[in-house]
Amino acid sequence: MLGSGILKGLGVTAKNFVGSYHDPARMVTQEYPDTPAKLPEAYRNFPFLVTENATDPMGTLRCVACQICEKECPPQCIYIEKSKDKKPDATGKPQLYPAVFAIDTAVCMSCQLCVEVCPFDAIKMDHVFEVAATNRFEGLLLNREQLAKPNEYFHQIRPTEAAEVDGRLTAERQAAAEKAKAAAAAKAAAPKPTTPVAGVADPGPASPRPATPKPAEGGTAP
């Protein structure tokens, strides 16, 4: 019968109309600004820099300014300047740190390549998406102070990945500490009268201040 196809179609429309009031499979609208959007853990939008200690963010950046992410970034939105001096990192090894670290989020396309190539787990993807700004240079060109976020925040947005990263880092640090201890013991055992050399070598493994970040780590990892 001519018109039966149209009537059948209208039946489907009616079913969907009624269903949109009671059937959860047909109720898809989210009241977004009133109920916040639920993001999956893997969601990525704009990178941030991980710091070990929230009280001293600039002193405990994991980034050592190796500039790999700057080279690999497809739209070239990362700008890094290496520091002139070195600071001891969590394992006590003196490392460079970024004197300038800027990301132009107006250019960034959130592709995650910087995270994938970073050998130090220093840069991770954020969950922010409400980033409207009135000024391109103040609101979207982020410097290292704006980019730095504590490790606790990383745990909050990506619990499984953060636990995995922390487990790996603590294992690395323990191995480094044991190695340093063994080296110091070997040095002490070896009867060498060269005091000046020992004097220089000693402060290396002994002086760094791993005491502050380490307990904090132990507390967060499990």
Partner: protein, 385 residues
């Protein structure tokens, strides 16, 4: 020299043709909602009939190929997401395929299966969207489109929870995939796929027998098989004309030969066949997905020898091609041994399928031209690159 090319005159003007008499030239687009992006058709009309149609594109040119020649192999992977932005998983795969061919890299079994799962999910996304947009062009304002988007949203949520992004997935890597899906993800995806035919049935009840749809699409925009083969048309548009050519069968890309599926073929090559082709292909995709979820092997998802950085393939050339939802998507790469490709070329199915638009539209009305364009399934990100 004038700043604008000669054909960019006023939107509507009268032209005189010695065979047809007085004609009207209408410039449709680039800001026309039914041209699926920034695409322009310069149509010459005799009354309401089209006597000439000139597609004008290039408004979305982003210099993709040259950018890729100046960055490392890895860095152009996120850019391939932006070619066909509805199907980033298949564009990623086609590019990875070309690079793996170039460097002779192996891909583990699990990654091969995951690639097929992602490609077929992408096909579901693309085809359901396309059918929705096609009916939007027909004038069924938004109802089929929103039903399609409701289903697409569920698949995009899966993509987001796996790769971190809904559309710009950036998921494939040379020698494998980036993230291994959890058992929960696979269970959710499998449940979605099992429910998908229900949506298709509902969709077909609503649309396939609709008399207005039949009147508007049957016999409209006919494309002869010989003509389509000559022009290099691929994908569902070619199969709607009755040519049995599907790269999943012809090339046996990846592990496709391990799966049982049929290639639907049309008989008339008109817009209705092209619509049915998409519906039938979605049903076949569901079959492939169900088999893939059942037989997905355990194991690594990345070749242990695969390198992320410092990737320098030996000098040579490679062409990797894939049956993307729109047709044959190919990447042609020439390496000179440096970390950047020396030449990088994309064979976009949308662009090549667009070349016969004039032949399909001649003799039809301007309202039909919109429907025919919708049935070809173009994405301007891929046409213009």
């Amino acid at each position: 020299m004038s700043l604008f090319p000669a054909n960019s005159g006023p939107t509507v003007r009268a032209v005189h043709d010695e065979f047809h008499g007085d004609l009207l030239e209408v410039s449709m687009g680039p800001q026309h909602p039914s041209t699926h992006g920034v695409f322009r058709m310069v149509v010459t009309l005799d009354g309401e009939q089209i006597v000439k149609l000139k597609p004008v594109f290039g408004y979305l040119h982003r210099n993709h190929e040259k950018i890729a020649e100046n960055t490392s192999y890895l860095s152009s992977m996120p850019y391939t997401d932006r070619l066909d932005y509805l199907c980033s998983m298949t564009t990623n795969w086609a590019y990875a395929l070309a690079v793996e061919k170039l460097s002779g890299q192996a891909v583990p079994d699990r990654a091969q299966y995951l690639r097929i799962i992602m490609a077929e999910l992408t096909r579901l996304v693309n085809h359901s969207c396309l059918v929705g947009f096609l009916f939007n062009d027909l004038g069924t304002s938004f109802t089929p489109l929103l039903y399609a988007f409701r289903e697409r949203e569920k698949i995009l949520d899966l993509f987001e929870s796996l790769s971190g992004s809904r559309m710009m997935c950036n998921y494939q890597r040379f020698g494998g995939c980036r993230v291994d899906p959890s058992p929960e993800w696979l269970a959710a995806a499998s449940a979605l796929v099992d429910n998908f035919p229900r949506f298709l049935d509902e969709y077909e009840t609503m649309l396939t027998g609709n008399e207005i749809l039949l009147a508007r699409t049957q016999g409209v925009g006919r494309l002869a098989a010989a003509h389509a083969i000559n022009a290099g048309i691929t994908g569902p548009v070619l199969r709607a004309s009755g040519v049995d050519y599907d790269l999943r069968k012809v090339d046996g890309t990846g592990f496709y030969p391990r799966f049982e599926f049929r290639v639907p073929l049309g008989a008339h090559g008109d817009t209705y066949d092209r619509y049915m082709m998409r519906i039938l292909e979605m049903r076949e995709s569901v079959k492939i997905l169900q088999q893939a979820f059942k037989t997905l092997p355990a194991g690594p998802i990345m070749d242990p020898k695969a390198k992320l950085r410092g990737f320098r393939p030996k000098a040579g050339e490679a062409y990797g091609r894939l049956e993307s939802p729109k047709g044959e998507l190919g990447f042609y790469l020439i390496s000179d041994g440096s970390p950047n490709p020396w030449r990088y070329r994309v064979r976009p199915p949308s662009l090549i399928n667009l070349t016969l638009l004039e032949e399909m539209c001649l003799g039809h009305t301007i309202a039909d031209a919109v429907v025919i364009l919708g049935s070809i399934d173009i994405v301007l990100g891929e046409v213009d690159r």
